[in-house]
């Protein structure tokens, strides 16, 4: 009779351990997915920052570079276009394209600014320029971080034995953030000299 009890106890212990392991795998999957969602929203934070900086930049440049109407308008309309696209999975490609176009317009504006020594000397402009350069970098790094978290999530989701848990609870595949053109990956090169 004691032998039977020992067997029952061992089986119960094994079952509890398996259950804990299972819970651990499930929680890891959830954690990775939350990380990815969080990383995605971080990109939006930086994009929003850029929208907020642009009106200031345009005003400052207007004061000095009176003949650059066209470049300024391009920036304003590119911004407006990007703002109007909602940031969700369905519009991700469209949004990325619009943001890429905005990056291009901004880099042209900053290149044009090089021709105006007074503008370049303006403390306000220099500060905006630094903030804008940094924001471009932050957008890039936030996207990189998003892809890192997606990579970790996908690795967990696809490797054994977590793939079994993932299939049971329908953990869906996450898409990496990809830019259509290599040119869009480049943040505008801003020179300080």
């Amino acid at each position: 009779m004691p032998d039977a009890w020992i067997v029952v106890l061992i089986l119960a212990a094994v079952f509890v351990l398996m259950l804990l392991w299972f819970i651990g795998m499930y929680n890891t999957l959830v954690r990775r997915r939350v990380d990815a969602d969080n990383a995605w929203s971080q990109i939006d934070v930086q994009l929003k920052r850029r929208y907020d900086l642009i009106p200031n930049l345009v005003e400052t440049v207007k004061g000095y570079a009176t003949h650059e109407r066209e470049t300024l308008d391009a920036v304003i309309s590119a911004r407006q276009h990007a703002v109007n696209i909602t940031s969700d999975a369905a519009h991700a490609a469209m949004k990325a394209q619009a943001e890429g176009a905005l990056s291009g317009a901004l880099s042209r504006l900053l290149a044009v600014a090089e021709a105006y020594p007074n503008l370049k000397a303006d403390a306000n402009f220099r500060q905006l320029q630094e903030e804008l350069t940094s924001t471009e970098n932050k957008i890039g790094f936030a996207r990189q971080h998003f892809n890192d978290t997606v990579g970790r999530y996908e690795e967990t989701r696809q490797t054994f034995p977590t793939n079994i848990v993932a299939a049971m609870f329908n953990f869906k595949e996450r898409q990496y953030f990809r830019l259509e053109e290599a040119a869009q990956r480049e943040a505008p090169k801003v020179s300080f000299s």
Binding site: D35, N38, A39, Q42, Q46, Q127, E130, E131, T133, S134, N137, K138, F141, A142, Q144, H145, D148, T149, S191, F192, S193
Partner: protein, 379 residues
């Protein structure tokens, strides 16, 4: 505030750059890595090695504890059998398992408990002490928005909360990170290094410091340092106890001459003293070796992780070259206990000896080796 030099990143391998001895050394070392090496490979390798070093350190602590426990057991039995000869036949024999095994396990247990307590203590012994020692001041964001932004960029890439930033008013080139977890992270950089680096190099240096914070290196370094301290302390105490015991039993043996028991006790204490002496020499040495090997692995790991964050190995290599050119140590401001927190070894003596050499007692790998590993990523 010093203005940074133009950010048109100068290529460290540019044609106008004069070939220096370090370049040849770097090339030779870099050829040891397969051409397909990625930062992920480097990180995996480093993680594996640091894991085994931690295991080794804990094992060493447990062995020291076990030997001491066994010795205490031996002493108890010998004193028991010699003091009351009537009970001698009831006393377990000296080499019985219970006299060695049980006390040695108790000793190992005590060592573990003390190590955990020590680690817990060093955990809350904050980052502020070292910042105060270095006269570091918190960065005013408006005075150096570029530095603030670079740190912000790197913490976004790492997905971490924003660390506190400090400037160290020093002419030496160095930077360090501290804080027990990412929520309490601190990065500090000397004003001289900040002025000397381009934006991209600054990113690389900050990314290296972020990596230390992200991997909880500060916590583990503290744990390692605590373990070393405890092992040294325990061995020292052990020698003293054995020595005191030997003298006590020796005097008693001579004054009373009451039998063979006293002579036995003297012999036991002589053996004990020999064990203690060997332990006192060997254990701290091993502990130090493990600690430094661990520290070097973490430096390599932080370099690899910095590249993961910036995706720009060139910038880190070029920043490390600038650091290699610097001869000036952080005099008086850093000691052996804090050296591991810095991006390059801040101590003059250690630097002169170990900058170019691979020494088992160095807290940092030689810079050419570090640059070589980074350059291996560029091929």
């Amino acid at each position: 505030m010093s203005t940074p030099p133009p950010s048109s990143s100068p290529s460290p391998t540019g044609p106008n750059r004069a070939e220096r001895p370090i370049d040849a050394q770097v090339r030779k070392l870099a050829s040891a890595y397969p051409g397909t090496t990625t930062y992920l490979d480097l990180m995996r390798k480093n993680r594996r090695q640091s894991f085994w070093l931690v295991v080794l350190m804990i094992a060493l602590g447990v062995i020291v504890g076990a030997i001491m426990g066994a010795s205490v057991g031996l002493v108890t039995v010998s004193v028991w059998s010699s003091s009351s000869s009537a009970d001698a036949q009831h006393a377990p024999p000296v080499w019985h398992t219970s006299t060695l095994l049980v006390p040695s396990m108790i000793g190992a247990g005590i060592a573990l408990v003390i190590a955990s307590l020590g680690a817990a203590w060093s955990w809350f012994d904050g980052a502020n002490a070292i910042l105060g020692m270095l006269h570091a001041t918190p960065l005013d964001r408006t005075l150096d928005p570029e530095l603030y932004n670079v740190v912000d960029e790197m913490r976004i890439a790492a997905g971490m909360p924003m660390p506190r930033i400090y400037l160290i008013p020093e002419t030496a080139l160095n930077a360090f990170a501290t804080g027990r977890d990412p929520e309490h992270g601190v990065v500090a950089i000397t004003t001289a290094l900040r002025a000397k680096l381009t934006r991209e190099e600054l990113q690389a240096v900050i990314a290296h410091e972020m990596a230390h914070i992200r991997h909880l290196d500060i916590r583990f370094s503290m744990l390692m340092a605590t373990m070393v301290g405890l092992i040294v302390f325990a061995c020292d105490a052990f020698v003293r106890i054995a020595w005191t015991g030997l003298r006590a039993s020796g005097t008693r043996g001579r004054s009373s001459r009451s039998g063979k028991g006293e002579g036995g006790a003297v012999a036991i204490f002589v053996i004990l003293l020999i064990i203690a002496a060997i332990l006192a020499v060997v254990a701290p040495l091993f502990a130090k070796l493990i600690q430094m090997a661990y520290s070097r692995e973490r430096e390599y790991l932080a370099d690899a992780c910095a590249v993961e964050l910036t995706r720009n190995p060139q910038a880190l290599a070029s920043a490390l070259r600038k650091l290699a050119d610097d001869e000036e140590p952080l005099v008086d401001l850093a000691n052996r206990g804090t050296a591991h927190m810095f991006i390059v070894n801040p101590l003059r003596k250690m630097r002169a000896k170990h900058q170019e050499l691979n020494s088992p007692f160095a807290s940092h790998p030689p810079l050419p080796s570090r640059i070589a590993r980074i350059m291996a990523l560029l091929r």
